[in-house]
Amino acid sequence: MIRKPRSRSILRRLRSSPYLFILPALIGLLVLVLYPFAFNIFITFTNMNVYHIRACADLFANATQADQLHCYALNSGVQNNLFYNFGFVFTDPAFVQILENSVIWTFSNVLPTVGLGLVLAFVLNSKVRGKTIYRLFMIVPWAMPSFITLLVWKGMYNYQFGVINSLLGEIGVPAINWLNGSCFNAFVAIVIANIWLGYPFMMIIFSGALQSIPQELYEAASIDGAVGFTRMRTVTIPLIRPTIVIALLLGSIWTFNNFNSAYLITAGGPGICTTIFITQAYNQAFSYFNFALAATYAFIAFIILFVPGFFWTRYTGLTRGGGS
């Protein structure tokens, strides 16, 4: 208390620009993000697609990738109706279901992954024998390239041969047609696989946050008589709250934009049951080579994430400075 005025004057004396600290990161961000961002907004107004790319066909034989891409960009013109691509997306009869799928997909993944990660981090931060071994086992889903593990999940869901149905059979549950049955089954299947992929990293970030809490704070709390649940409520939870907030926020954004599970296990099917925004953008870009439509889907996804993301950071004070 008494120190405060003195330290403040020292701080002022030592003041160097805070902008210097954030400048390198900010420059990287601006260069790598701003340009692609502007580029994508521009091509949402164009008709950059495979037909105009065909005009580049004679280049293909010996051209470098750079020449090809420049050719794609140059051979596509601005649409007569500037908002043609947006009109196409919004009048697509599947649009509402894709939007609904994306939102359900996001929430049904994020809450269990963050919850499981948090519980595991707490349990492994308490006195338990064999922590290192448990942690090592637990990060396995995260350490493997997801392509191969997702194909294994697809095999495990196989109606006739899959181990999941044979396990259910053991306990007397009739076989479930996971991937080609109802929308609900397919959705549950990809959500389970994706939770499996997601919780290890949540466990890691919560473990790091728990360990970063200075021991002194716990000592001070125990002198004040705070133990067990009280200690958790007054010391632990407030200090890891920002990490929970950022895990929920980034977890949602990543899940919304993560197409691996939906693409590799169900390929968006059956029908459009498991089609989400990002699989749609990916299909437009790399199956139909309609880059303008892909950019349009991506731009809409951006807006959908930006608005709640903005209010959530505001509401939780995530970006508020600690400042002296």
Binding site: A25, H70, F137, V140, T319
Partner: protein, 293 residues
């Protein structure tokens, strides 16, 4: 008295048994699908293409081979590129990306935690923006940008995006780690005559080692397993990374699931090693951070 302490120790034992039961179940769930990958890697032929593979509860290969492992060592998927080259490229790229990411993240996290300045909230929020824009559509413009700069087909073309790519999470993790260190520590050190840089490097960084380990691990994985960006940016065979080699086993007309699984397992080994190293910091970060110096 004796009775209540007995009751307490029973309750303790039950709690510990419950914890272990939970952890064992989660550990089994975590590794079970990967046991299938192990099985595929040791089975002759391309087992994953055969749905019969998933019959039975335990993934035990019906016959055993090491061919898939020897084939990734021997194989030249493309001319001038083999296993040692992939390891070298992946190592150079990953280490540079992690170091670079830390150099960008740590000072920024510090400034966001300890200072107040104009545009603070806006600039911090802006680090979230790249995650909101799906990666599949940013790769092409990034490629055009790097080709204009003449950096395509060099290590820089992937290192720089990997460094920046990890920032959105890292800066927030570091800010909240610095926030959890009481400001009295900085102030006490300042009274002792330590400068800001010294406080940052000698006091705050050691105290936040567990979070630094998390951030480094995150940056490590971002570049170690990335295929999409490397696929676009690196054209020369001599620059191939492990993921590029891995996905080369997926040919349009034939999929080498066996070799794919084998290389996936090989690629996971360094992740475990790195994790074990960081695990040490996760534990020692506590004691190393005592505020006595």
């Amino acid at each position: 008295m004796a009775r209540s302490s007995a009751a307490r120790s029973v309750r303790k034992l039950a709690a510990s048994a419950l914890k272990h039961a939970f952890l064992i179940v989660m550990a089994l769930v975590s590794i079970y699908p990967v046991l299938w990958v192990v099985s595929i890697a040791f089975t002759p032929g391309e087992a994953l293409g055969n749905p019969n593979l998933f019959l039975g509860l335990f993934p035990i290969p019906s016959s055993f081979t090491l061919d898939h492992f020897t084939s990734i060592l021997k194989l030249q998927v493309v001319v001038g590129s083999n296993f040692p080259v992939w390891i070298r490229n992946s190592t150079i790229i990953t280490v540079s990306s992690v170091v670079g990411a830390l150099l960008l993240t740590l000072p920024a996290g510090y400034a966001f935690s300890r200072r107040r300045f104009r545009g603070q909230e806006a600039s911090m929020f802006s680090f979230l923006l790249p995650t909101m824009f799906p990666g599949v559509v940013t790769i092409i413009p990034q490629f055009l940008l790097f080709s204009t700069l003449g950096l395509v087909d060099t290590y820089f073309a992937v290192i720089i995006p990997y460094m920046v790519g990890s920032l959105s999470l890292s800066i927030f993790i570091m800010k909240s780690a610095f926030d959890s260190i009481p400001r009295e520590i900085d102030e006490a050190a300042m009274i002792d005559g330590a400068g800001e840089f010294r406080i940052f490097t000698r006091m705050l960084l050691p105290l936040t080692l567990p979070s630094i380990a998390t951030v480094a691990l995150w940056a490590f994985m971002g570049s170690w397993l990335d295929w999409a960006l490397a696929h676009v940016m690196l054209e020369s065979n001599s620059l191939w990374t492990l993921p590029l080699a891995l996905y080369a086993f997926l040919q349009p007309n034939y999929t080498y699931y066996g070799s794919f699984s084998a290389l996936s397992l090989v690629m996971a080994i360094p992740v475990f090693v790195v994790f074990l190293v960081f695990q040490k910091y996760l534990v020692t970060g506590l004691t190393a951070g005592s505020v006595k110096g």
